[in-house]
């Protein structure tokens, strides 16, 4: 069961829509641009990943297009924690 729970904090889109954002693991990224290309509102997700920053963009819908389409598993959802400043 552990596997199912492994990312329980960030796997639910429901939660994410309210309180989450997209985070990245930049060492996996090859800057192919599929994320930016598929963002419905044109956020340059790839540039965030290059700078090793979370996609904290006021217009981000957390629709998950970039997360789902990234061929290398660079992107994930994480819940925003207002009180902890971390790279995640």
């Amino acid at each position: 069961m552990a596997l199912l729970n492994i990312f329980k904090n960030n796997s639910s889109k429901h939660n994410v829509l309210a309180t989450g954002h997209v985070i990245s693991e930049s060492s996996r990224c090859v800057q192919c641009g599929i994320c930016s290309y598929n963002c419905p509102i044109g956020i340059d997700v790839r540039a965030h990943v290059w700078r090793d920053e979370a996609v904290k963009h006021s217009e981000c819908l957390t629709c998950g297009e970039c997360v789902a389409r990234c061929p290398r598993g660079v992107l994930r959802f994480a819940q925003t924690d207002l009180f902890v400043r971390s790279k995640e």
């Binding site: 596997l3 492994i6 990312f7 996996r28 800057q31 192919c32 599929i34 598993g73």
Partner: protein, 420 residues
């Protein structure tokens, strides 16, 4: 201070950024004859499948470049004049440097058979190659989806035999077959047959002939070493550099696919042809060039790739020996993947959802994940961070161990302890 960077790939660009982060005034000149400048070369695969448009491959806008304040010279460096501290551009003008970075990359090994120059014989090095392939294939989602019949020639008896194990090779080959690709094992190309300058067939060493309209080759890559020929810089297969990315001339640095980088941990110098090491090496070279001392420490090599549509992560050391299909090392490859590990192999999963762990004495030294990628990120962290897995080692080694659960459970505890 003038910095000259040869090459417009990821190593070159990250070096420019690193130099600028330390030195805001120095003059930076990048010289490259690539007509497209900096773009994502790994992304070319997705451009070919139609998941991307060519313009999406370019990660930088004009504004980005303007902010970095460097000059781009679309030209070819033809010689390095060490005694003059200069490079010769297009065979005529001298460009003086204080610090030089060689980031010229690697290129496809030539096919080396008669007929290799015929129209329709293609490789995939650059965006220009990808455009050429699409032009020949008249643009389609994949070549196969375009209704093309694909024959795949393999020199060995199975796919990627020095990284994948037999089962994994079988999984990939079965999927290729299902997609209609015809595999030919132990097949060696003897000659490309042409008619009116265009490829019409492939003749094999065993005497068979396969008809074809296009022949694509991928037999490995090798560092572009022509510039180094008259320089007396120490070289092996690539240009040798220390952990600060310096060549034997301390004002000349190298990074990316051309660099054979000394690893103080293993005492060896290795080639990589991966995006992430090139990015990191460019950064470390840039810092050192601008006066900030930094060392490049090789981390566990890592790549995510699609094999016959199956997402596959390769981390650390997983294979051994030599792949008969490759002369150099494959693109997106790392030599560390083939070092013989003092490790025992534990496996789990089924065809499209497969995990293989290479278990060392106290740590995991490598992993392959095919299909489900949930554990890819945790395994990358655990292997790179040399997590002590003694507490679960015995359980992992047990017959029919629930590997995924064990790794996931371990990860959750370990990541909390390591505060990742």
């Amino acid at each position: 201070m003038r910095y000259v960077i040869i090459g417009a790939g990821v190593a070159g660009i990250s070096a420019v950024e690193a130099i600028r982060s330390v030195d805001s005034d120095g003059e930076i000149i990048m010289v490259s004859d690539d007509p497209y400048g900096y773009y994502s070369r790994p992304g070319l695969a997705y451009y070919l499948t139609g998941e991307l448009e060519d313009k999406a491959l370019f990660p930088r806008t004009k504004e980005h470049y303007q902010k970095l304040n460097f000059n781009f010279l679309k030209a070819r460096v033809t010689r390095i004049l060490r005694s003059d501290h200069a490079v010769l551009v297009d065979g005529k003008s001298k460009l003086v440097y204080n610090k030089l970075l060689i980031a010229v990359g690697a290129r496809a090994m030539p096919l080396g058979v008669a007929g290799a120059n015929l129209e329709g014989v293609v490789k995939l090095d650059h965006l220009a190659d990808a455009k050429h392939i699409l032009k020949l294939a008249k643009r389609g989602k994949t070549l196969l989806a375009r209704g093309m019949k694909v024959n795949y020639l393999l020199r060995g008896d199975r796919y990627w035999s020095n990284v994948l194990d037999k089962h994994e090779s079988h999984v990939v080959e079965e999927r290729l077959t299902e997609e209609g690709v015809v595999l030919h094992h132990k097949a060696e190309l003897k000659e490309v047959i042409g008619k009116k300058g265009h490829v019409v067939g492939a003749m094999l060493v065993d005497g068979r002939t396969l008809k074809c309209d296009m022949l694509a080759y991928a037999v490995g890559i090798s560092p572009c070493m022509e510039l180094m020929e008259e320089t007396n810089l120490a070289k092996d297969r690539g240009l040798l550099v220390n952990e600060h990315l310096q060549t034997t001339d301390l004002d000349i640095y190298a990074a990316g696919d051309v660099a054979q980088v000394y690893d103080p941990l293993s005492g060896k110098s290795a080639l990589d042809s991966l995006w992430s090491p090139a990015h990191e090496q460019g950064r470390v070279a840039g810092w050192n060039m601008a006066g900030r001392k930094a060392a490049y420490l090789k981390s566990a090599p890592f790549n995510v790739t699609r094999l016959a549509g199956l997402t596959t992560t390769i981390i650390g050391t997983v294979g051994r020996g030599k792949d008969e299909d490759l002369i150099g090392i494959a693109r997106g490859d790392s030599e560390t993947w083939r070092e013989l590990p003092e490790a025992i192999i534990a496996q789990s999963g089924f065809d499209v959802n497969h995990m293989r762990l290479m278990v060392g004495e106290k740590t995991l030294v490598g992993a392959i994940l095919m299909g489900d990628q949930t554990l890819s990120w945790p395994l990358q962290k655990m292997i790179a961070g040399k997590a002590d897995i003694s507490s679960i080692r015995e359980q992992i080694m047990a017959t029919d161990a629930p590997l995924a659960d064990l790794v996931a459970q371990f990860w959750m505890t370990w990541r909390t302890e390591e505060a990742l």
